[in-house]
Amino acid sequence: MTQAAILCAMAVLDVSLAGVRSIAGRDAHIDKGALFRRWTFRGAVVGVGALVAIAAMLVTALARAEDQAMLYDDLIAAGTRMLAVFVPFTLVLLVALVAYVVPNLEARCLALVIVLGPLTMARAGVLLTGAFAAAWTAPPVVQVAAFATVAIVVLAEALLHRWASAATGE
């Protein structure tokens, strides 16, 4: 269950940040503190919605399984392999975010150029790698669940971008 809790926390964090990314570059005011807080919250809400969808999928799969205990163990093992991919990515991201809020131009520039910019581009690949890692050696139902989970997180970001686009009249 610890693995599930960590994955849930990372998913909500990821989609919360997607909320900020979805509105960034669409509003040209200078003081965007309140705007970014609002879209972080919206991202978190969408992230929780995504988790509910994922949980519903997994509960359904467990309910229909012939050997529920075995499927549960397979899901935990898949989640652990997913964590092996996502935890390093998240830690690097968090360290860069800390560096970015340091009031020093050089530190901020390095955090942005070396980590935050490239990681935005790498995110889709990391999600896919996480799905492959989870699916590795797993039974078909877990493989489907792994890719469906990542697809739901990707869809959550797409939903936020559409929402932000509509909200800004684009």
């Binding site: 570059g25 003081d31 901020r108 910019g117």
Partner: protein, 304 residues
């Protein structure tokens, strides 16, 4: 081969009256195609037109506001306001009082006026400084005024030639503008500031380092949505002037001012040297400015 930015081609203004001139989409497509820019031509081919094959000005303006809003995101992430402020602060403090005790800081080609509005929000340059943004594009200026009014910022925006404002001893600034001036136009750009009686100028643009093309590709794809933004962002980095090109243009165009580089292309690691300014200053103000720079002074290179 000449590198072109689509945003330079889709709007045209009468040099004398600054009135908007109609632009044919086919002409834009042809110009890009002739420059060997197939991707740019493909983007231009999808631009909206009105009867007669002319670009639809209202839709083009809305597109440019979106593009500049995306561009502002990069300025925010790269702390462009702070970069300029750390230079303008010492510069303004070191200059003698302007006429009537006031000094204008004029942002040339200000777009949505991000820099001017950021400085206005900070109020760090003091109450005797007038912050003015200039751009030929009325739609961008209207948007800048609306944004400034929304946040009650003390700054003004004018759709006019920045060098005809009659603000003697002004300090002209810009970000990401100088690469738009090529050849003798770059000399003329600096000459206009000398002739306008500027006390100094500070023009930031992309540093053409070895990592700049990769960085530009990465950030314009990661942060921008409009194909035009991505195209022009890449082109602007490829068009960035070298240190020597900028310094030589200042020497030729503005002989009454001393060129100074801060963080020249070879002076800093490419990872840290994303944007760097070329500075021009009247000789009588140079020593005071260098003293006022404080910890930044060792990074300044006077190129008489």
């Amino acid at each position: 081969m000449e590198r072109l930015e689509i945003s330079d081609l889709v709007v045209a203004f009468d040099g004398a009256t600054s009135a908007r001139l109609p632009v044919r989409r086919d002409d834009v497509v042809r110009e890009l195609a002739n420059a060997g820019d197939r991707r740019g031509a493909a983007i231009a081919r999808r631009l909206p037109t009105r009867p007669g094959g002319f670009l639809d000005e209202a839709q083009i303006d809305r597109l440019l506001v979106r593009v500049h809003t995306e561009l502002q995101r990069l300025s925010e992430e790269f702390q462009q306001g702070r970069r300029v402020e750390q230079l303008l602060g010492p510069l303004v403090r070191s200059l003698p009082p302007g006429p009537g005790g006031r000094r204008a800081i004029v942002d040339v080609g200000c777009g949505l006026g991000y820099l001017v509005r950021w400085l206005a929000l900070r109020s760090s340059l003091g109450p005797s400084v007038d912050l003015v943004g200039c751009d030929y594009n009325h739609a961008l200026i209207a948007a800048a005024r609306r944004l400034a009014a929304d946040e009650s910022l003390a700054c003004t925006f004018v759709a006019a030639n920045a060098f005809s404002l009659d603000r003697p001893s002004a300090v002209f600034v810009s970000t990401g503008v100088v690469h738009h001036f090529r050849g003798s136009d770059l000399d003329a750009f600096f000459a206009a500031q000398d002739a306008a009686g500027a006390a100094a100028f500070v023009h930031y643009d992309t540093a053409p380092t070895s990592l700049a093309p990769l960085g530009a590709w990465l950030f314009h794809w990661a942060r921008m949505r409009e194909p035009l933004s991505r195209h022009d962002g890449m082109q602007s980095v490829r068009r960035a002037h070298t240190d020597d090109e900028l310094v030589d243009a200042v020497r030729r165009g503005a002989p009454g001012m001393v060129p100074v580089l801060l963080d020249g292309v070879r002076a800093r690691h490419p990872l840290l040297n994303v944007l760097r300014p070329v500075i021009g200053i009247r000789p009588e103000h140079l020593d005071g400015f260098l003293r006022a720079l404080g910890p930044l002074a060792p990074r300044a290179e006077v190129r008489r």
